[in-house]
Amino acid sequence: MIEAVGLTKRYGAKTAVYNLSFQVRPGVVTGFLGPNGSGKSTTMRMILGLDQPTAGRVTIGGHPFRQLPNAPRQVGALLDAKAVHGGRSARNHLLSLAQLAGIPARRVDEVLGVVGLQDVARRRSKGFSLGMGQRLGIAAALLGDPQVLLFDEPVNGLDPEGILWVRNLMKKLASEGRTVFVSSHLMSEMALTADHLIVIGRGQLLSDMPVKQFISANSADFARVRTPEGEAAQRDKLSGVLVEAGGQVLPEPDGALRVTGLPLPRISDLAHGADVRLWELSPHQASLEEAYMRLTQGAVDYRSTDDKLAHLQAPPQPGQPGYGLPPQPQPPLPADVPQQGWYAPPPPGENPYAAPQPPAPAPQPPAAAPQPSPPRPSIQKPSDTTEDAR
């Protein structure tokens, strides 16, 4: 059992891990997921007492790692496959580790067989491929027959056969009642290997739940709806109708709409009722990988996507969904006006839309250049027009 409480690690001004609390229980494979640089390895190093936490603590079986009696017999770890002296043979590398814990040399040959390195045992590890290095690292972790095992990215560089082997090895170790903690940045791999998932992003805990629950919570179905291209009014009309009917609508960058909460036939009926033609209406399932990506984008991004509900009447703005206008019932905008919002404010004096718009105060000629804030009126224009329209 590994237990972290309020674990925090700062390197100077950078916070690598912040207030992380979790438990890794015996008997199951616990996956530790997060994008690169999210603090997985730092957390692993803190568990092993290599890095001192800035705040909080982490214990193994109730003891901080540094106070464990005969640590190699209780905890086995693969941190970095290449963390071996390249000039030393695989067997001698393991032998030096075995001697630390009073493990007989016989066991060294045994684990070399388990990981399939017996034929290259006496070769210098310098010439090993990444996959062979991983196997050597796994052998080192297994050496002391420990109850707690940590693996940092164990499948990196392994061939498909090796990946399958690691997957089964993890499951076997867990089924023997051991605590198995495996980090990875591949959701798909963890979905196959792990029973429980701990997901972190930017050093903070994002999710801590069984894999089954994670899958059911995150793999939501959705429908992709496309209205005729170039007819933004149709699309806006449709999204208004769909929201009224209780659906959630997310504009996609290519102009399609991602609809959740409504079955496909209902979407079709609603579109028909609103007299909107459809170019596409297709069922989709968000992959686990996608769910994981959304989750790890960071709390702020995640929330802004969620807010969409309230903003749906706003003209869809590809690239930055969610930052639309205040909720209003279906603003009847001219088709090309919302396009204004899609672009960065044009340079002063060059706004092609400035002249024809009635409220535009900015003068067209070059005299606009020296003015301190000429882009401002052009930004506000769309909302001005909506006010007028109302």
Binding site: F65, Q67, H85
Partner: protein, 259 residues
């Protein structure tokens, strides 16, 4: 708690299973003995060209140790690599995950490597002495003469301590390249040059190699070298202070910093 004998055994396995151990220690022996022999032979043939002062303070024992100036560099490399490769390879994390008690880890490593360096140093200094005396002809001395045995054993201790000092520095700097880049020029150039510069040589007298090498002299201030304000044992004590300081520094760095 990893037991000390287990850690010592493991460190011995680590040291004997890398080839850098063999070639650094072998070159320490060969370079020191060969260069000592060559200079002994050279001085025998050019003894009459020496100045009166140099002839009056002629120290056959010290002459046979002339190769130490170069040979100690191989000891520096050995000491640096023993500690430095743990960092450059990343092995340090594996090692410390297995031996969380960092003092036990570091001092076991240094004890094993230091003992080996001392042993090789003693072999080197005895070989250098006997070969050098054989080549010095009528200017030779014998192992039974006053203070000669102290100088020969001292030469071995000196080489061992140079290696241990380098291990401490490498543990402080946590990098083989950086440690070698500092230690080799220091012992080979800076210390030698400063000891010839007025004023600066007053300071240079207290450098570890300058102070420690006094133990190898049978005749005080041999061959017209600078007078030192301390004797052979005093010099060795000064060197020991340096070694202790580097070990303490190395330990504090290992203890405080994240691996």
């Amino acid at each position: 708690m990893a037991a000390v004998p287990a850690v010592l055994q493991s460190e011995w396995t680590k040291i004997r299973t890398v080839s850098s151990t063999v070639w650094t220690l072998a070159s320490a022996v060969i370079v020191t003995v060969a260069m000592g022999a060559a200079l002994s032979a050279l001085l025998k043939s050019s003894f009459d060209d020496l100045s009166d002062l140099e002839r009056a303070t002629f120290d056959p024992t010290f002459v046979s140790f002339s190769g130490m100036v170069l040979g100690q560099l191989a000891m520096v490399v050995f000491g640096v690599l023993v500690v430095g490769t743990e960092y450059s390879s990343g092995m340090i994390r594996t090692s410390l995950a297995a031996v969380p008690q960092r003092a036990t880890f570091l001092f076991s490593k240094i004890a094993v490597a230091g003992a080996l360096a001392l042993l090789v140093g003693l072999v080197t200094s005895f070989l250098s002495f006997f070969l050098g005396q054989a080549l010095l002809g009528e200017h030779r001395t014998t192992i039974g003469a006053d203070n000669v045995l102290r100088a020969v054993v001292g030469g071995g201790i000196y080489m061992g301590l140079i290696a241990v000092f380098s291990m401490g520095v490498a543990a402080m700097l946590r990098s083989s390249m950086l440690s070698l880049g500092i230690l080799v020029p220091f012992f080979f150039l800076i210390s030698q040059i400063l000891s010839a510069v007025p004023k600066a040589k007053e300071v240079a007298k207290y450098f570890p190699d300058q102070a420690g090498s006094k133990i190898m002299q049978v005749v005080p201030d041999a061959l017209g070298s600078e007078k030192a304000p301390y004797g052979p044992w005093g010099g060795l004590a000064i060197m020991l202070v340096w070694v202790a300081a580097s070990l303490l520094g190395g330990y504090l760095v290992l203890k405080r910093r994240d691996a």
